[in-house]
């Protein structure tokens, strides 16, 4: 499951994407429109700021803007950023190859290759939609291709 925090982050970024090029968006607007607790959202946006996804302006008339073009931000990127990984098990995450606790030797694991498949398909779908897509039309035939 995605954490509530990840979901909030996605919705907040979608909101900023919709207002892209229209100046800064105050927190209060996102809170009202997206049904997110205000204080919690500041924490999330700070985190996204540190990652370079949003920029903020303080003081009166302050608010947030999306730094990249909406089309540059894939939903998968946001989830990886918040959650660390998209995989269902530690040993199936891509980059810093983790291993599962209390597992059998990886060579004997009959779950791993399956979970790698799931991870790849999930990533393909989540990376096929960006903040520029109004609705996820998700052209499945773009990537991956079927054998």
């Amino acid at each position: 499951m995605l954490s509530q925090k990840s979901r909030y982050a996605i919705r907040a970024l979608q909101h900023l994407a919709d207002r892209h090029g229209q100046g800064v968006v105050p927190l209060a607007e996102m809170v009202a429109a997206q049904n997110i607790p205000a204080k919690f959202l500041t924490v999330i946006l700070s985190e996204l700021g540190r990652e370079g996804l949003v920029r903020s302006q303080r003081g009166r008339e302050g608010g947030y803007v999306l730094v990249p073009t909406p089309a540059e931000v894939r939903i998968g990127d946001i989830i990886r950023l918040m959650r660390g990984s998209i995989a269902l098990v530690p040993c199936a995450s891509r980059d810093p190859h983790e291993h599962c606790e209390n597992c059998v030797p990886e060579s004997a694991c009959r779950l791993r290759s399956l979970m790698l498949q799931v991870r790849d398909e999930t990533a393909r779908i989540l990376d096929s939609v960006t903040l520029a897509d109004p609705f996820p039309t998700a052209n499945l035939e773009l990537a991956g291709g079927k054998p």
Copy 2:
């Protein structure tokens, strides 16, 4: 992420599948081979017993057997059983249609249809492999079929 418990359940059932038709398998054997805390495994196996997946025999020479044929048990079934759902968000689970906390109205949600796609693909992959498969060769064309 899958819970540790779900992973233990899958490994235990794989172990039982390997011994299918060879009489009952004692807990101690699974504990040793699969690296699972003994007491915890009894809890898990009881749960699987209540669901009809395993049958147990008590007393000396007791142990567990897999009730269905290995080919009848899909990995997806096990995960659904332990976790309740395969979806990444509540509103994308199939059967008893749940909704996400603190979300926007479902009609306005731009994440849901994407998450439904992920759920379907994930289910397709996880349901393409059963306890009879020694390694997940994952013939993707078996199930699901593409639109």
